[in-house]
């Protein structure tokens, strides 16, 4: 798991959130986890396939998810319904898609799978034995979004 795969996700997340939320997120300190698992109430899971493959999980609290969805929809979210969940999933899709554009500039060709939402903490995802790097992003008046990046180059995966 290389740090250079993570930077595009942090950069894309900042760009996408600036546009969607009209606020500039602040990057927190990068940390590592031995395995990928959900740590937040709301987690958007995006699969990455191609030259680099694995999973990226965008985790946040329910309060943060409500605030983001309200801003994206343009109306307050009273219950975290299908539309709110879809907005949060789409945020993950947009960040992942924009990250792949940055990765393609480095020569990596990848694709993404439609996002899935997992509700609840400590769900372990064991299909991939790749450690995760975590970047926290703090958005003023909205909360914290944790990006868990667990990716490896295809030839490393095949060798494993």
């Amino acid at each position: 798991m290389k740090v250079e795969y993570v930077s595009p996700f942090a950069e894309a997340a900042v760009n996408v959130m600036e546009m969607l939320l009209n606020k500039t997120p602040e990057r927190g300190k990068l940390s590592a986890r031995p395995q990928i698992f959900t740590t937040q109430q709301i987690n958007v899971v995006c699969g990455i396939t191609g030259d680099i493959a694995g999973l990226v999980i965008y985790g946040m609290s329910m309060v943060t998810a409500d605030r983001i969805a309200s801003t994206m929809i343009g109306a307050p979210v009273v219950a975290f319904d299908g539309l709110a969940a879809s907005a949060i999933a789409e945020l993950g899709n947009m960040v992942s898609g924009n990250s792949l554009s940055l990765l393609s500039a480095q020569g990596f060709r990848c694709d993404i799978t439609p996002p899935t939402i997992i509700r609840g903490t400590n769900v372990k995802i064991t299909t991939l034995n790749i450690p995760a790097l975590v970047i926290p992003l703090i958005v003023e008046e909205i909360g914290q979004i944790e990006i868990n990046v667990s990716l490896a180059e295809k030839r490393e995966l095949q060798a494993a």
Binding site: M72, A87, G97, N98, S101
Partner: protein, 121 residues
């Protein structure tokens, strides 16, 4: 008569957002598809003036759906509307006959500009 548009996106949020932008500006949204298979079927039955097409979707992705729609109607106005903005993806879509390529997230004006340009006639 209002120009008729078919929206294709697996995300309910995106379908609602696009529908609001288009209907508030005088277009009629005649159908909403949540994957490529639905989009191709609705294109054939509704014969819309324009289709917005996401790429990353379950069942059939937007590139495959674009190709099927263009095979059925070579004059179809298909505008890609996706988070996948890599150059190879844009080139593949344009070569397959897409008339424009909008990368998400977008400003409403970007969508209107693309639609107005294609449906001006």
């Amino acid at each position: 008569m209002a120009k008729r548009i078919l929206i294709t996106d697996d995300a309910l949020f995106m379908r609602v957002t696009l529908k609001n932008i288009l209907t508030q500006n005088g277009y009629e949204v005649v159908g909403e598809a949540s994957n490529g298979v639905e989009s191709v079927a609705l294109y054939k039955s509704l014969k819309p003036d324009l289709v917005t097409m996401d790429i990353t979707m379950p069942e059939m992705d937007g590139i495959a759906a674009l190709k099927e729609i263009k095979a059925h109607d070579p004059a179809a106005n298909v505008v890609m509307c996706t988070a996948m903005g890599q150059k190879n993806m844009v080139v593949e879509a344009i070569q397959a006959g897409a008339k424009d390529f909008i990368v998400k997230p977008f400003q409403p004006d970007r969508v209107l500009e693309a639609v107005q340009k294609l449906l001006a006639a």
